[in-house]
Amino acid sequence: MDSRDSTQSMAATNSGGDDDGGLLSVTASLAKEASLYFQSRKFDECLDLLNQLLEKKPDDPKVLHNIAIAEYFRDGCADPKKLLESLNNVKRRSEELARASGEQAEAANNLGNKVILGAKGSGAGHQISSANSGSLVYMDEFDASVAKLNIAVIWFHLHEYAKALSVLEPLYQNIAPIDESTALQICLLLLDVALACHDASRSADVLMYLEKAFGVGGVSQGDSGSMVQQQSTNLFTKYSSVPSSSSVADVSNSDLAATVNAPENPLSRTLSEETLEDDTVLVLSSFEISGQNLARPVGLSASNELSRTLVDRSIPTVDLKLKLQLYKVRFLLLTRNLKQAKREVKHAMNIARGRDSSMALFLKSQLEYARGNHRKAIKLLLASSNRAEMGISSMFNNNLGCIYYQLGKYHTSSVFFSKALNNSASLRKDKPLKLFTFSQDKSLLITYNCGLQYLACGKPILAARCFQKSSLVFYKRPLLWLRLAECCLMAFEKGLIIAGRSPSDRSEVRVHVIGKGKWRHLVMDDGILKNGHVDSVGTDDCFLGSDGQPNLSLSFARQCLINALHLLNCPELNYPKFGLPSNLSLEEDESSEATSSKNSIQRNLTGLDSKISVGLGQVTSNGDAKEQKGGTSLETIQNSVSYCEDMCERENQMIKQALLSNLAYVELQLENPVKALAAARSLLELPDCSRIYIFLGHVYAAEALCLLNKPNEAAEHFSIYLSAGNNVDLPFSQEDCEQWRVEKTVDSEELNGGSMAAKNSSPEDPQDILLPNPEEARGTLYANIAALFAMQGELDRAHHFVMQALSLLPRSTEATLTAIYIDLMLGKSQEAVAKLKQCSHVRFVPGGFHLNTSC
């Protein structure tokens, strides 16, 4: 917490409003000294003085407050719980006091009024009453507000945004009477929290307020204005609207020098404390963005200096301006108003000229990242960082990892993610752990990114571990649960886990490789081993740690999907409005597999892995176009919010489609067609469902119906794709894929290079994520319809369709098996045998098979 040196130059005297003049000067000087000690980090001395002060004024909440903070610093910022407790005590205490004095004041007021009525000196009476009411306000609002602010700061650092918000929100609602610099701190912190929660509308609200109150042009006025006000209030003690001055009124102006300090001291103290917290807050929150967004960190140093200067009572206009500008950029990035963000970031760079502009550079890099100009983003990132600082370098690496991930270079990105984790691990190794360090630690968020990267690399079990770890933060995000389910599905696809109970009806032969060198043998696996135990190859690998964490299984996948759907459907639970940081802009790789196979009826297993990048895309550019016209910044902000809300809505719809189709698939695999049918039907009922998912919904529903012995209803699902008798339409077109994938259409000038790279990895790469191919889907449809006809006994038509299917999907096992079945039924055993020979579907079960005697 280097920010300690940033305490104000203001003298901190610690006199309350109820002091009399003589005591005041003593306490004032004590407090002044204490504050000096505090600034020079001599916390022991400072505490001595404060304790002396406490003797003079027992139970004074301000003194207690300062003691709590000084102790906290003395102990190396390592015990936030204790600080929280004492701050809560202070808060309670000062609220009690406020209540008491409020009653007192009222009584006095009444009394005073009577007196005034009785006597004629109305001026004096007025003064008293106003002063009294002023002190009420003061006690009530100001004092507790500082303690509350500090509480919020602590929660913020602990990543407990919901709690921080619950403290800040009432303060913000009633911000008018709070003194200006505290109010500024409150606003900034609230803005940080809102941005951290990705709460666009709230951040817009605060941002607009800030613009109004402290904004560009308003800054100098606000700044000097407050000075003026304070002076004026000292002179005109009646002026009770400025709370800090009201206590002065009590002291009745006798000692001007002392009183000037008096009102300000608690404030300055807390302010200093606050800001030193707050600058970490800033830093922090800028990290925040990057952490979740898979984006880049915003310059630490910049904000450090910024806030340090901010601390100096006279907030340099330019710095505040820059800060606000950067906030604005962050907000625009959050709402993905990229055009506007570009303009604003340019502006920010201009302001930052000649200063440390790394934060602006970070944001700019993030902007380019969001626009899909990944190479440019890397360059900016490289230019911006000072990598010496651990927290920064962690974010720096994380962001690089994200960019490489976006470039489709998953393995390279893993290098960066692991570096990032390493960095933050070394951060955490400092003992004792400091609050600031903790708040800088984004390991959990990085872990989530690692999980995504593993998923992309086709390592579902490792990915699931990462996701599980990060669930501490993200457990309220539907996406996390979708990802976990995808891990299960991928593991299932790779044969790492088995379906429900019966691998015996798999259409493939599982083969294990046993032994080494020339002793190597192939072992065929007949599914059911002796004594009814289902072969459990690979389950050992799936144990995810000891402490009761669930294994990967299809049942687990189902639970995850249900959770995710639940979160999506109950928005009040889900968008943890203020609960948890969200990372909507994470790219998604959906792996939604299509139908499975079943004894007599062969269905095609279409491994549809679609790569979705939610958001951005054409939509963005359209949105931008509109917003460009929106002239004033306020309008822009409002537009961005509504636009952002639309986008979130769309994203949720997409997630829902993926969830439901995955759920239908999982239920089919678990041989639970009743539920599969329900899921498929709700998928088909979704408004604006992508044609790809409609296709999947129909196929799943048809299969479920077949399993429920209702082939006729199943046929209805296929009939919409049947045109002119025996032909099948393309269930969806390439455009649908494109649309779903929402390619990052880079919005004008610069390169398309970024998005290219993702597409062109070599086709034989097994880890590649394939787009569902319309032709393949059509083949699947043919095969399914063939199977359906075969089941209904219409062998000729079945034959026709299966031939079509095989011409489209010559390598499909399911189609081949259907063909064989039909051949057999038609009595063409020779052809069936020939086909069987071609179809040697063998899966080598990777590792983990231990030879036991029963083999």
Binding site: L158, H411, T412, S502, S504
Partner: protein, 352 residues
């Protein structure tokens, strides 16, 4: 298929009829074998059992089948993921009322949660009447549960119940009380992760779901180390080189630099690299910049010029490997080439 199923049914029937006190376990075991045949087997089993005990007559008392056998079978099926399908399908064509369901469960001595599971399974049925019956049945049970809490062991069950409560209109108000009940149960254990999103925050706090404040105090022991270690061990040099492109082997010093980023060069790693190179001997589309940006990003020396490379420079690679790991056993490397995904596209690649 029809043939087979009737065969199985008669076999089940035979087993049921042969049931005596002495062969209970054996029969049960054999019956449960049918479950291994997937949902069809399960449905057949349950259906035959139910038929056998004259289930559809609606009289519990005259059940010929021993209730403990049926209860055992039901319990086993309940643990299967496809219970709702099995149960609904077995009851297809039969409509049972709530009261009978209750009697039935009582006769089988099912626990409260097993009863609820039964009811919930019915709530998925296609038949509307069954569905309402199932819903009402579970609802009644859940309400009763509030008065005398019982313990649930399966998080899946809890999830199902909560989902049911949320889903059915007018039941959402029960959610809170159910949560209350949950919070009373076994406070020793951590809330399973899967339930975390369903529970309220305050409940989570009381049920020891780790919060940030705890993490703050608890994170001294470094739980991320294993992840990092794992990531490092999982890092696949070969894949990275493929992603970075031909730039890696532009000259010796660079190749060494790249290779040294990644811990010891084992024979396995080398063979992977070789096979990757063979596979991507040509045709790796690459913009040269990606390698140099990678270098500068990772803190190495940035390369200035990279002429357009169209293939790996094997000599450079071999030289670098010789320098870095002089003791490499090349025979072993060749042996390791035998791995999944080894593929040589053409002659040019092979001769390299």
């Amino acid at each position: 298929m029809i043939l087979l199923s009737s065969l199985i049914a008669s076999q089940i029937l035979f087993l049921l009829q042969s049931l005596t006190d002495s062969n209970f376990d054996a029969v049960l075991n054999e019956l449960l074998q049918f479950v291994e045949y997937g949902s069809e087997g399960s449905i057949l089993l349950l259906r035959t059992c139910l038929d056998h005990m004259n289930f559809d007559k609606g009289e519990v008392h005259k059940m010929q089948l021993r209730p403990d056998l049926l209860a055992a079978i039901l319990r086993y099926l309940l643990d299967q993921p496809n219970f709702s399908t099995v149960f609904c399908e077995s009851l297809r064509g039969i409509v049972i009322n709530e009261k009978f369901l209750g009697d039935f469960c009582d006769a089988l001595h099912l626990s409260v949660f097993e009863k609820i599971a039964l009811g919930l399974a019915l709530a998925d049925a296609e038949n509307l009447e069954m569905r309402t019956n199932g819903q009402n049945f579970s609802m009644g049970l859940i309400e009763k549960l509030r008065e005398n809490p019982a313990s649930v062991d399966s998080s899946e069950q809890i999830q199902n119940i909560i989902m049911f409560l949320y889903r059915s209109e007018g039941l959402a108000k029960h959610v809170d009380s159910f949560m209350q009940m949950l919070s009373l149960m076994d406070p020793k254990e951590r809330t399973p992760l899967i339930l975390a999103p369903l529970l309220s925050d305050s409940l989570l706090e009381t049920t020891r779901f780790p919060r940030n404040l705890d993490i703050f105090y608890g994170c001294s022991e470094n739980e991320f180390d294993d992840i990092v270690a794992e990531m490092e061990s999982e890092t696949s040099m070969a894949d990275i080189m493929r992603e970075l492109g031909y730039g890696c082997t532009v000259n010796c010093s660079h190749c060494i630099e790249v290779l040294t980023f990644f811990s010891p060069l084992t024979e396995v790693t080398l063979s992977r690299i070789l096979s990757t190179m063979a596979r991507t001997y040509t045709g790796l589309e690459e913009n040269q910049s990606s390698y140099s940006t990678f270098c500068s990003a990772i803190g190495g020396t940035a390369t200035s010029d990279l002429s357009c490379l169209s293939s790996w420079n094997v000599d450079v690679l071999v030289d670098s490997i010789k320098q870095l790991a002089p003791g490499t056993n090349w025979i072993r490397v060749m042996e390791c080439l035998d791995h999944e995904g080894f593929y040589i596209p053409n002659e040019g690649a092979f001769s390299f």
